[in-house]
């Protein structure tokens, strides 16, 4: 990140843009421009070219057939219908019932499924898991952004596209790795009462990993917005297990016993591993539990046994019962270690 000074001019532009968009919305009632066929395009506050360009820059496969997609904060449904057009089976969620969504859905003969839910109510139990999750323009509207990202992660089985307002150009930081999030008590952002937090890009990336995603790519960054792609899987697993790396035991890092809950504040595991080189760190070591990647928070010596200890939070959305744990570091891949997951507390 370059050195940036607080840019009040940009804040003014954001206020003006928000006011213009509100006026446009009040005139037509549409937020999204949606191509209903036969030359009919809904008169959205956002132009269709802009929305199509946004979608293209997500770099999703052209063919989404056989994939389940979830559109959280769908509003009029541009991204719902666009993903459906590419073959996905789409579920849409918003915290209210956007009537234009239903108008467009009918006009398009769409089979998208709609649920009126708060983002905090989005769970695997209610909706199942999805290959692609859209979380576009929602994060800064929620009071508890990290909690929302945890819910997004729980229902994502491959990749989530997360788009938000960001404050890289609005806010001075001491150093580039400083992760900060600005608070809006009232209508300080864009004159709207439903804006709560603006993270910088670094904070967004760190929160997304802390929510349970293992890899994050910044796809697009504009003056005050950013798009990231967040993945549930590592992309560098060696093909064959090597006898030199062995998981000896998996313990609960909080309770120090073999009770392994799939969620809640005790869902952090300590792996005892033999054969991990002394220079391995949390940045080089990969963990996988039940098919999902998990990012170690600590890698170090395990007492004086000569083994190494890896502490890792349990990835969200795992099934109860038998699950396989694997570790790799560079070209070394461990054995499959089977654990039994039990239910945990909500928190």
């Amino acid at each position: 990140m370059t050195t940036i000074s607080k840019d009040n001019e940009l804040r003014q532009i954001l206020d003006n843009t928000a006011a213009i968009q509100r006026d446009a919305l009040n005139m037509t009632g549409w937020w999204h421009s949606i191509d209903l066929g036969n030359g009919a395009i809904t008169p959205g506050a956002h132009q269709i070219e802009e929305l199509r360009d946004n979608y293209a820059k997500f770099l999703l496969p052209d063919d989404l057939s056989g994939k389940r997609a979830l559109d959280i904060g769908c509003w009029d449904g541009f991204y719902t219908f666009e993903a459906e057009r590419h073959g996905a089976e789409v579920t849409s969620v918003d915290c209210w019932r956007p009537e234009k969504f239903f108008v467009a859905r009918q006009a398009l003969n769409s089979s998208a499924d709609f649920h009126e839910l708060s983002v905090y109510e989005v769970t695997k139990e209610k909706l199942g898991a999805f290959d692609v999750v859209f979380f576009l323009g929602v994060l800064y509207h929620v009071k508890h952004p990290l909690l929302a990202l945890e819910q997004v992660c729980e229902v994502t089985r491959d990749v989530a596209i997360i788009e938000t307002h960001q404050i890289d150009n609005l806010f001075e930081t001491q150093h580039s790795a400083m992760a900060v999030m600005e608070f809006y008590e009232l209508d300080e952002l864009g004159g709207q009462y439903d804006n709560w937090w603006g993270p910088n890009t670094e904070c967004l990336v760190q929160m997304t990993r802390a929510a349970g995603f293992v890899r994050v790519e910044v796809m697009r960054r504009q003056a005050s917005r950013v798009v990231i792609k967040a993945y549930r899987h590592w992309n560098d697993q060696p093909i064959e297990a090597s006898p030199s790396l062995k998981i000896v035991d998996v313990l609960n890092a909080v309770t120090l016993d073999h009770t392994l809950p799939r969620r809640g504040r005790h869902a952090v595991f300590a792996l005892s591993v033999a054969g991990l080189p002394a220079d391995a760190t949390r940045d080089t070591v990969r963990v996988e539990i039940g098919g999902f990647g998990a990012k170690p928070v600590y890698v170090g010596a395990w007492g004086d046994q000569g083994n190494m200890q890896i502490n890792v939070p349990v990835p969200p959305g795992l099934e109860l019962g038998k699950n396989v744990v694997r570790v790799w570091n560079g070209t070394q891949l461990s054995n499959d270690f089977e654990i039994e997951l039990v239910e945990g507390g909500q928190w």
């Binding site: 708060s118 806010f171 802390a210 928190w347």
Partner: protein
């Protein structure tokens, strides 16, 4: 100290305190009587000094008090000594708390709960709530403050690590720690500046926030559920004409969830009234208006509109809504509160 020196100092202190705990220290020094003081990382003098800066009344008899994140229990036992009936909560079972409780023959209740599990339904409401040194250990600080507010009937004392001296700029903001960036500990997640802490506390539902003290890296605020300037008698010139739900535009009043937001239509409020000098009270709890201005509906142009969130922790059934401004108090307008959604 420079920003870098301050961060290094925090890390160094964290490492030293951890080592003391590993070597068998308690976290709190607690006077067990008979000249016996537990060997805490924090000295008795330091804790007593902190207790004094909380400015609690000397006599707490008849008061209920909740100590969230009690650890070894210094504040639990100190407030009990001053007469309060204390309930202590932590997210684990701190063995030393029970040892001290027995030694002191304390009657303090204990619940092992996550802060997010704290609800009026579970632990009741307390006159005073202590929330000392917990906020920055949480992944969802604003959600935790909402829980704190729900169980507070008079005031809460909220103490936290703060970053005012660690960054330039005074915008309300908090810093995120993905790993052990703060003090070398994995259970530190967010640290706000004082402005952010005050704004979050009001957004959680407290009516008034006062700064109690601030040092290089810590601060405490006193957060009140009630306004302190309510006029004694109703003035005929300020009249609430109607109260509606600001999200559903009808007379549905859920006490919680995303639709628990009020619009008050009021006669006699000057056009110049601003949201920071208009007071709203619902069911005895004060709340900050989010909006004060002309109503959206031109047919109501003789009135003013006040939008305010519902204060947390209200009982179901009848509740009075009252507004005051410049010494003028409105009528008490009855609304009927029903259960809402969790979110």
């Amino acid at each position: 100290m420079s920003n870098r020196e301050l961060r290094e100092h925090v890390t160094q202190t964290g490492v030293e305190q951890n080592q003391m705990l590993l070597d068998g220290s308690w976290w709190h020094s607690i006077d067990l009587g008979g000249g016996l003081v537990t060997p805490g990382v924090h000295s008795l003098a330091e804790l007593q000094n902190l207790y004094r800066s909380m400015e609690l009344p000397d006599d707490l008899s008849g008061k209920t008090l909740l100590d969230i994140g009690c650890w070894d229990g210094f504040y639990t036992f100190e407030t009990e000594r001053h007469g309060a009936q204390v309930t202590a909560v932590d997210c684990w079972r701190p063995g030393n708390f029970f040892a001290a409780r027995e030694a002191l023959k304390s009657k303090a209740g204990f619940h092992e709960l996550s802060v997010y599990d704290i609800a009026k339904e579970k632990v009741g409401a307390s006159d005073i709530v202590l929330f000392m040194g917990v906020l920055y250990h949480l992944r969802h600080p604003l959600l935790a403050l909402e829980r704190v507010c729900e169980v507070t009937s008079d005031f809460a004392i909220i103490e936290s690590h703060v970053i005012d001296k660690m960054r330039a700029g005074d915008e309300p903001a908090m810093e995120f720690y993905e790993f052990d960036e703060l003090g070398g500990m994995y259970d530190n997640w967010w640290a706000p500046n004082v402005e952010c802490m005050a704004q979050m506390t009001r957004s959680a539902g407290f009516a008034r926030v006062e700064l109690l003290y601030q040092s290089d890296t810590r601060a405490a605020v006193k957060a009140y559920r009630k306004w302190n300037d309510k006029p004694a008698s109703i003035s005929p010139s300020l009249i609430i004409r109607d109260v509606i739900n600001a999200t559903t535009y009808d007379h549905y009043f859920p006490r919680q969830g995303r639709q628990s937001f009020l619009s008050i239509w009021i006669e006699g409020l000057p056009r110049t009234a601003r949201r920071w000098d208009v007071r709203v009270e619902v069911g005895g709890f004060g709340i900050h208006p989010a909006y004060v201005g002309p109503p959206g509906d031109p047919e109501l142009s003789a009135l003013m509109q006040i939008n305010a969130p519902m204060p947390p922790g209200l009982e179901l059934g009848k509740a009075a809504v009252q507004v005051w401004h410049s010494g003028e108090l409105s009528n008490a307008f009855q609304i009927d509160l029903v259960e809402g959604a969790q979110w």
